[in-house]
Amino acid sequence: MSCKRITIVISLISVLICCMIVASAIGTISIPMPDIIKMSLNKLPVFDFMPTWPSRWEDIIFQVRLPRVVGGALVGAALSVAGVLFQGLLRNPLADPYIIGTSAGAGLGAIVAMLLPLSLTFFGFGMVPVFAFIGALATVTLVYNIAQVGGKTPVVSMLLAGFVVGSMLSALMYLLITLFPERSFLRGGVLSFLGGSISVTSWWQLAVITPLIIGGIIVAWLHAPYLNAFSLGEEGAAYIGVEVEREKKLILILGALLTAAAVSISGLVGFVGLVVPHAMRLLLGPSHRLLILASALAGSSFIVLTDLLARTVLAPREILIGVITALVGAPFFLYLLRKHRREYTF
């Protein structure tokens, strides 16, 4: 990696850490940031600051706020990288987990899991991530097969099929919700699932999805040069040595996995998978090695901040995070689009 890229990645990591500290500090009780830094560093063996803060604060930070902040960061990273994967593969900056129906599939899977009684008692983990992944993968496979014509998968038919299948699955999701109104199967209610909300209340909830998301992002990063190759189209990619069908399947599965992992703890958060990769591509260029890392980090910071807004602006009431991602993200995106429109040619 060149010097410039390392600088960019380190700056983005610093931004993410700052966002996480700020988000941990603010809440019903505000906790000074230096104290948060000290108590976090104390978790490492080399540091030993004298606790000048009430021990209750440590519980608030480590048991309540940090799980949610980390969960938000993971959701942001997963959705952003899924967006990068779908956009790169389909050569279309409009593709994201929502447009091609993957989110709806994951959402339906999650809701089915919540309706089933076993969801409560499976080794302490919910079945939600598993069902969400099955839903997302089934959707991607279905869309992919519907769109396939004579052994090829044209982008336009993939987008159309994705949109149609996604709409059908959303309809089924609403139908299920209407059919079982008495089941309060969703923590925080149905609306917070559909509108998106980081519903993480303990580290346990992150145990399954953390390795999935981090592993998924690493595999995506390793395959970045093939995503670059897909910019030439499927035939063009084949000409420069890409086993198109195999690589395409891998990318779709990764995208489904990341989407499902995010949906299972946050519900349907829109806009991130579309806007973060766009913004990063405008700022840093379309080369995928850097784009994947930068989108993961920027997406994390973005969701950590929007989740902070979601729970503080109208406190004690929470705003749906999907509302904030759209309200904050859209103008920012339009600004970038306007400022860089000359470079933004398709």
């Binding site: 084949a238 000409y239 040595g241 890409v242 086993e243 379309p286």
Partner: protein
């Protein structure tokens, strides 16, 4: 041994015949032009040689190995394709596009310093270093085509397949690009990259302009409706009899004043009306 040989190859698209009973032997270092009317199968033939289409009947061999047995990566290390359409959905720089040519050599867990160096050599070879930081999508047609050639060269191929490399270019750039193609074919050896062991790059190009085809290619293959009508030197192929049979036009052939290559003089339908 032939670089590429096609033995009784047929291919049909779902809506009709693509190619019928094609047998060609392409020797190392040859520069071959594929000519023929629209829909005669030039592009299909290139796609079969590059392995993205598989023949319905017959076999294709690359260096004596059946193409079916080779994976994409191995093929791309031997064959570079310059397709007719080349557009990018995102704002890649020229340098990034040329580096795409190194994809067949990509190793997942290794640094790509050598690849960057080879991509730079390819840009130097085509004299496009000044464009390195520009956006590909903002270049003129002629510049773009040079970038695509540099990308293909970065693959360090033994065989170049070009599909209408001069389409949409003005006459000046058509000549420039074909000069480059000729140069790459003739001087490939140590000039552009090491490790080629002195071989020339074999070139097969589909080309519409018959006069340019006669000037730049030593062997022409004339196709009509998916069959080979004639295969040989420009003198043998560009005759008024063959051209009237294939293109249904009446033309006169005159020798080029310098090279004596056959050149086509277009007919005027009714002299009296024009005067």
């Amino acid at each position: 041994m032939a670089k590429v040989s096609l033995k009784n190859v047929s291919f049909s698209y779902s809506d009709g015949i693509g190619l019928k009973n094609i047998t060609i032997s392409i020797r190392d270092g040859e520069r071959i032009g594929l000519i023929g009317p629209n829909g005669s199968g030039k592009t299909t033939l290139l796609k079969l040689i590059s392995g993205v289409l598989l023949p319905g009947e017959g076999e294709i061999y690359l260096d004596g190995v059946n193409l079916k047995r080779l994976d994409r990566r191995t093929i791309a290390q031997e064959i570079a394709v310059v397709p007719q359409q080349f557009d990018l959905p995102f704002a890649f720089t020229v340098k990034e596009v040329v580096e795409l040519g190194r994809t067949p050599f990509f190793k997942m867990f290794a640094g790509g310093n050598e690849d960057v160096a080879i991509a730079n050599q390819a840009m130097t070879a085509l004299e496009i270093e000044p464009l390195a930081g520009r956006f590909f999508n903002e270049l003129s047609g002629g510049e773009r085509q040079k970038v695509v050639l540099a990308m293909a060269l970065a693959q360090q191929p033994k065989l170049f397949l070009l599909d209408e490399p001069t389409a949409h270019l003005d006459i000046n750039h058509q000549i420039e690009i074909l000069d480059w193609v000729k140069k790459l074919n003739a001087e490939a050896a140590g000039r552009f990259y090491s490790g080629n062991s002195g071989q020339a790059i074999t070139v097969v190009a589909a080309i519409h302009d018959l006069n340019l085809a006669a000037l730049y290619f030593e062997r022409l293959i004339l196709l009509k409706e998916g069959r080979i009508v004639a295969d040989g030197s420009p003198h043998k192929i560009l005759t008024s009899e063959l051209l009237s049979e294939v293109f249904s036009i009446t033309v006169e052939i005159a020798p080029h004043p310098q090279t004596k290559a056959p050149q086509i003089i277009l007919p005027v339908k009714d002299e009296k009306e024009c005067v």
